[in-house]
Every structure is written in C-alpha cells, then in structure tokens.
C-alpha cells in the first residue's frame, strides 16, 4: 500500500488508473518482471506488453497507451492476474484502459469497442444478448467481408438450431432500463 500522502508524487495517468480500478493502488508496485507479458496469450500481438504499459503509465505516456491495441487484445483470460507476483489486478486495469480510451476518444484502431457497443445496445433493449442480431449488425457495419467468410459456419449453426432469429426479451425490461439509466446518470457524476 502506498501511503496516501505519497500518492501526490505519482503521474496523473497513474493516479487516474488507480482511482478507476478496484484494487488499482497496487499498480505502483509493479516490479517490471514481465510475468504478465510473458503469460499473455495475445502478448505477441500487442503493441506494448502489459508490463511495458505499466512502465508507460508511470511515465505518464497517456496518449501512447490509450491509442495502443494492448487492452483491446486482452481477452480477459486472467493468466497475468493470477501470475503477477505483486498481485496487481492487471486484467481489471485492461478494462480501465478500455473505458478510458473510449471516454477520451482514442480507441480508433480496434473493432472491439464497436463489438462491445453493439452487444450492450442489444442488452439494453432486450435484457438478453442476441447472438444472431449482434453478429449480423456488428459484422455488417464493421466487417462486411468476414460476413461472407462466416457465412458457412453461420449456416451450419443455423441448421443445427443454434442460431435463434428472434431475440428473447425479459419481462421487466422497463425495470432493467431504469436501473441502467440511473447507473449511467450516476457514473457521469464523477
């Protein structure tokens, strides 16, 4: 734990990441050991390994980090998290960086935000996710080409009865929406 009185000396980026992540105070303890970067199934595809990202956070390189693909390559496998010798909640920090990148309009290079948006839009509307709708809408708008490639597998899925064509809706959609709206309103507060 960093004593609060010392936190003042940290980079602004570090402070923001700490504030936005439950348990995020630990990030100052990164040893730069590289367990995370070595473990990540997508580590090889990342612009910067998670370890490097933590060094950059400490060095206040906000722009470079938020524009990087690192967090969008994260598939939330939590390998890094359970291996980090300093018990830093790395995966959760990846989520924090995703949110920051979206909020600050830096998430240009990846399709992941679009997928996420499509997904949550459906849930907001129906209360359940709807694979067929999500896939078609997301692919149509983002990857029309892969729509064709997917076609075959999609068709077989359909043939096997594994793709429903109509969404299920929960009974109390109104209630859910009230909760979501309130949460959205509250999250704007700070």
């Amino acid at each position: 734990m960093v004593a609060e009185s010392h936190a003042a000396h940290l980079s602004q980026f570090m402070k923001d990441v700490m504030a936005d992540t439950p348990g995020g105070q630990k990030v100052v303890h990164c040893l730069q050991c590289g367990s995370c970067g070595g473990s990540c199934p997508n580590g090889a595809e990342m612009d910067f390994t998670p370890r490097a990202v933590f060094a950059m956070i400490a060095a206040d390189r906000r722009e470079a980090v938020l524009k990087a693909n690192t967090m969008w390559q994260c598939v939330s496998c939590y390998l890094c998290t359970v291996r980090c010798p300093q018990e830093i909640p790395i995966t959760e920090i990846m989520y924090t960086l995703k949110r920051m990148a979206i909020r600050e309009g830096k998430a240009g290079g990846s399709d992941a935000p679009a997928l996420a948006r499509t997904f949550t839009d459906f849930v907001d509307r129906y209360g359940r996710s709807f694979e067929f709708g999500i896939a078609t809408r997301y692919l149509l708008f983002n990857k029309p080409l892969s729509m064709l490639k997917m076609g075959g597998a999609g068709m077989s899925m359909f043939a096997k009865g594994r793709l429903a064509l109509t969404p299920t809706k929960i009974r109390q959609v109104k209630q859910l929406q009230a909760i979501i709206n309130k949460a959205k309103e509250l999250s704007k507060e700070d």
């Binding site: 040893l31 050991c33 590289g34 390994t49 291996r83 010798p85």
Partner: protein
C-alpha cells in the same frame, strides 16, 4: 500519607522549549497539582548538573516521588532512575514522560503543544503517586549453552564457545550435523569445495571435549529463564547402540532395503533402511529408519543385527528424554526449500526434466548420485541447453514477498558448473541480479565472460506444449524479455528452479517453546534489525544463521560467531538482572476459573491443583500484563503497570476534559432539602 513529588521539566536546549512553554508548565504544576512539592524547569535535565539537581532535591526536600518531563523513556529512563537511586530513592518511584518525541518535535502550534505537554505532566504526576518501590532481581548464569541446529551457523557458534572453554550441547534433528552446506558441491563465489571446508568443522565438533553432540534429537520442552534454563531433549531411537557402534558400516552395506533419499540426496538418490546420510557424517553412527525397515514392517530380515560385529543393533531401543540445564540458548535451525509444486506452471513434478536447485546441487556434486555428471532424468543424456529460473517462490506476494538473497549467486554458480562440465548453453532468467557482497559482482562479471546467457524477465511458464517443430520434445520456457519488450519462447532440455529459502516448518512452534517470536513469514525476530541482530526479545535466547532470515554462508558464520560472543559475555558477567515488572496473583481471591491459564505465551502461569488457584512463576513472567487485563475477578496485578496507576494516569491526562461537566455537577449539589 501524602506524597512529596518533584516535577522536572526539561528544555532540551530549544528542542522542547522551542515549542513548549516549559517554564509556564513547571510553574503551573507546582501551583495546581496536588502533592507537588518542587517543580522546576532546566536546560538539560539529563546533564550531570540536571541529575544532580534531582538528587539534591530528593535529599533536601525529602521527595518521595519524581516526575521528569523530557524525552523518551527508551533514551533516558535508566539515567533518571539511576539519579533517584543515587539519592536513596527507589528508582521505580520515578516516571519519565515524553514531551519531546511525542510533543515538541511533532506539533506545529506552540499553544497546542504546550497544552499536550501539560496533560502529559499531569498524567505522570497522578500516576507516580501510585507507583510502588520495586527491587530488581538477579540470577546466576549457568555456563553451559544449548545450540539447536547443526548447520554451519550452529557449528560455528558451538566451536567458538567450546574453544573458549565452555560446555555446549549441540542438538541436531537429523542423523548427522552439517546442515545444507553438506549437500553442496562448490560454494560461491570462490568455488571452494564445500565438503573440504565443512568437514573439518564437523569432525572438530564431533570430537571436542566441551561438546555434547545430540544428533537425531529434538527439543521437547524449555522452562526457566535466562541464566538457568531447564531443557528436555528427546533423543529419538536410532535402534543402534551409540556407544557400541564403531561406524564400520557393514550393516548399511548389507541392508537389503533401498529407499529414496528425500533428505540428503533431495530425492536424487537412494539410501538403505539403516543409513548414515553421507560418507563424512558426524557422528559415524547409523540410524534405522523404522518406516522403511523390513523388520519393523513384517518382522523379517535382521540382517544388520546378525552382521554387526559389536552387537550394536537394538531393535527395541526407545526414545529417551534427556534433561539438561543451560544458561543460554542459541537457535540455528536454518531453512527449508520452497515446494516448487506450488507453482504448477513451472511443471515441477509433472515435467521430468524440471529440477529444483537442491536436486541440481546433488546432480553436479562429485559425491552425488551421478558422480557429478550433469545428465537428464534418464540418467544418460547430457543436456544441450539449460534454463535457470530465478525467484521461484521469492519476491512473489503469492508465496514469499522477500528476496532469498542467495539464489542469484547460486544460479551463477550453477551456470559456471554447467559451462565447466558440459557444452550446454545456459540461460539465466532473472528479474534483478542481486550480487551485493564481497566478490559477488566480480563473479557475475566472470559468468558474463564465460558465455552464460542472461534474459531479464520472470519466467511465465515452462511447458511441453510445442507450437513449432523446433519445440517438439523440448521444455519450452516462455517469458517476456523485458529488455526488448517481446514475448519469447526458449526450447531447452533442462530447467532448474531456484526455489526460495523458507523458514523451517516448525519454526513458530520451536520459537514458542523458547519464548521468541517470528516475523509474518516465519523468520525469527531479532532484538534490533541493525544494532542487535543475534539477540532476541527473550533474554538468554539468541539466533544465528538462516533461521533469522535468508543469507549466505559467510553471513551465517558471522552470526554464529556473534551469538557465541554474546553468550560468552553473559557467562563472563556471571549474573543477569531481571526487571521486576511482573504479574502476581492474589491467590486467596483467585477463583481458579483458568481464564488466565491460556494467556501466557511463556507458560508463566501455573495452576495448582490442590488449592485450585493459579499462580505466576515470577522468573518466567515477562511483564506484558495480558493476564492482568484478562482476569475476570480482577485479582491479578501487574507491577509498575497496575490498574490504579493507569487509571490515575488516564485521569491526569484528561485533567481538563471534564471542566464543564464538573460545573453542572456542582449545580446538582443545590437540590432542595427534604421537608421536615
């Protein structure tokens, strides 16, 4: 009889006077606090003139109590106690209250600091009224010493004391002394042969006229306190008559039962059911491992008994309890290796060619199971590439947060041995290279020159899941090379895990028996980490070597010698003083409820069956006061910290808190009288 109290408030130059209005407080105390006969302020109370002033007042003014407002009692309590006893007053009738560290040095506002100092002085004045004269106790020091643990640290301590002419009982739980060092091939950084430097010390201890060697023995119980401990040792049954055995080794040779040796050989080799752990073992008296001996298993065999030329085999030998008396105890129980199976992603126990560091020590030891040939588990293939993984279970909050200190150097040592003996490539995967003792960095430089390869990155996993044809049949070490910022995979033949040094399993338990404590991790706590590294909070109990924390052989030896010097000092002095701050039970009033019986970690409270009451054994009590606070009948008193004293102190500290309420209670006095 009202007391006559002298109050002395120190300026400490401007250290106190700069923030606290000392003169005003001294005057206030003299005028407002009951029983204060003299109240003065002075530039430096601890100076000889200051002390003289107190002494003079005690004599002239016939003071019965003294309060000093100055610095921390940890600095000058002894000073002022001495001044009081010089003047013929019992030193325990003085109270030193801290208005420097706790007040002038830490508060910004002069008036608030003064108010607090006033409250502290008031508290001390109230307290001191209730203080009682106490007499310190002295005990003789028994010149014999108990050393627990026969590793290098314990051996060093033993020999220092024995050479100085004092008797030492050396208790070792394994069949031979020697500790971990006996398992090594070479020792860093000089690469001298471990056996060559250790064996002479072992045999010296074995033959020394002043040393009683108790191997295959464990500490059962300790009672008593500094100067005169009574110790019970359990001598486990060897099934071999210690005196009759000549150490010829025929029994070992002929014993038909082979078992895996998980102790000395770290699981890399075998031993017999009757065995001496290694050829240079001291004493040269074998033991029968009753769990694997055929006779104990199914009443067959007895080959050893039949062949023993001196009839030394005694199957019915039993454990023996040995009582000894010593004046001091040195604990040197060393460390145990980290269980690498706790990190499954490194594959130890699952992937054959992943080794622990102790296994590798045996593998490259000329006297080891392969005669020092570095080969893989199949017993023949020489590895072409070896990865050494640092910080396995060290510097990892999930296992041990500390750095084990020696494994970087041991890894370099391994690197050197591999390069010397094979053509293999050696990789070290490190986070930081820790080589900060004399000639250690030079050793690192040497290995850089010898072609050892260094990758900065903690290994993420060791796997046999090949992704590419080049990886087939290899162990793949995956990590981030943090210096280039890329994930990398290194296919190798053999992996060595540099496991952490961990405290012994029973460290806490043994500590409890001897009345000393462990850190969170389980290392013994020294009295002061810098200035008193081998003494402990329990007088007469010392620690040496790795049981106090990870360290290398030179440091272990230095501590062994230091502990011996401390003990020798005690023996030379002949007597020790014990603070009279102890608990006592009013046995008349004790109901025998036994609440207090569980309170004392020093077992200082005994229950007397006949009277069904509890009693404090004064010599064992350390005066913590925990039992005092626990007794539901309120019949335990803690000398120098009794309830009356503390209640009075609280009252004094809050002298200004109840002012308004006091007004309202005086109002309550004016209730109407009853009708008549």
């Amino acid at each position: 009889m009202a007391e006559k109290i002298g109050v002395y408030v120190c300026h400490c130059g401007s250290n106190i006077a700069g923030k606290v209005d000392v003169e005003e407080i001294a005057q206030w105390a003299g005028e407002n606090l009951d029983d204060v006969a003299v109240s003065r302020d002075y530039k430096f109370m601890c100076s000889s003139l200051g002390q003289q002033m107190i002494e003079d007042d005690i004599k002239k003014e016939k003071l019965t109590r003294v309060v000093v407002g100055a610095c921390s009692p940890h600095l000058h309590e002894k000073t002022f106690r001495r001044a009081c006893s010089n003047a013929g007053m019992n030193p325990y009738l003085m109270d030193l209250t801290n208005i420097r560290e706790h007040c002038s040095w830490v508060h910004k506002d002069r008036s608030l600091a003064t108010e607090k100092a006033r409250a502290l002085i008031s508290a001390a004045v109230q307290r001191v009224k209730h203080q009682e004269p106490l007499e310190p106790m002295y005990v003789d020091v028994n010149p014999a010493t108990l050393v627990i643990g026969g590793g290098i640290a314990g051996l060093q301590a033993t020999l220092e004391l024995a050479d100085a002419g004092y008797h030492v009982y050396l208790v070792e739980r394994l069949p031979s002394i020697g500790g971990h060092m006996a398992q090594f091939d070479k020792t860093f950084p000089t690469l001298d042969c471990s056996a060559c430097i250790l064996t002479p010390k072992m045999s010296e201890a074995g033959q020394h006229e002043n040393v009683t060697l108790l191997t295959y023995a464990e500490l059962e119980e300790v009672s008593g306190s500094v100067g005169s401990f009574k110790v019970k040792i359990r001598q486990k049954s060897r099934c071999v008559d210690y005196d009759a055995c000549t150490g010829c080794g025929i029994c070992v040779e002929k014993c038909p039962r082979k078992v895996l040796d998980t102790e000395f050989e770290a699981g890399m080799g075998n031993r017999k059911a009757i065995y001496m752990p290694f050829p240079q073992a001291v004493p040269r008296v074998p033991v029968i491992d009753q769990d694997s001996c055929i006779w104990f298993e199914r009443q067959k065999c007895r080959a050893c008994e039949k062949l023993c030329p001196t009839d030394a085999i005694k199957f019915d030998q039993e454990d023996e309890l040995i009582d000894i008396e010593v004046g001091n105890i040195i604990i040197a129980t060393g460390w145990k290796p980290f269980d690498s199976k706790k990190i499954p992603q490194y594959g130890y126990g699952r992937l054959a060619n992943v080794y622990t560091s102790m296994e590798f020590e045996r593998l490259c030891n000329a006297a080891g199971p392969t005669n020092g040939k570095i080969v893989m588990r199949d017993g023949k293939t020489v590895p072409k590439s070896i990865a050494i993984v640092h910080c396995v279970g060290s510097r990892d909050d999930r296992h041990n947060p500390y750095c084990s200190g020696i494994c970087c150097m041991a890894a370099l040592k391994f690197g050197h041995l591999v390069l010397e003996k094979t053509d293999a490539e050696v990789y070290s995967f490190y986070i930081d290279m820790r080589t900060n003792q004399k000639n250690y960095e030079e050793f690192y430089q040497r290995l850089l020159g010898e072609g050892m390869r260094f990758v900065r990155g903690k290994v993420s996993e060791v796997t046999d899941a090949a992704r590419m044809p080049t990886e087939q049949g290899k162990l793949i070490v995956q990590c981030e090379d943090t210096l280039i910022g890329r994930q990398q995979r290194y296919p190798v033949d053999m992996v060595i895990l540099m496991g952490a040094l961990e405290p012994q399993e029973d460290a806490r338990e043994l500590g409890l028996k001897c009345g000393i404590s462990c850190s969170m991790e389980g290392w013994y706590t020294e009295r002061h980490p810098k200035l008193d590294p081998v003494a402990t909070m329990t007088d007469g109990v010392f620690v040496a070597g790795t049981c106090q924390g990870p360290k290398d052989i030179p440091a272990s030896v230095a501590q062994g010698a230091a502990a011996a010097a401390r003990v020798a000092g005690m023996i030379t002095k002949g007597k020790v003083m014990i603070e009279p701050i102890v608990a006592s039970i009013n046995e008349q009033a004790c109901s025998g409820c036994k609440i207090c019986n569980n309170m004392c970690p020093y077992n200082a409270i005994e229950f007397i069956e006949e009277t069904e009451t509890s009693r404090v054994i004064t010599a064992l009590c350390k005066g913590c006061g925990t039992c005092v606070a626990a007794c539901p009948a309120g019949v335990i008193t803690g000398a120098h910290f009794n309830n009356k004293q503390i209640f009075a102190e609280i009252e004094g500290a809050l002298w200004d808190a109840l002012q308004p309420a006091a007004e309202s209670s005086s109002q309550a006095e004016t209730v109407p009288a009853s009708a008549s």
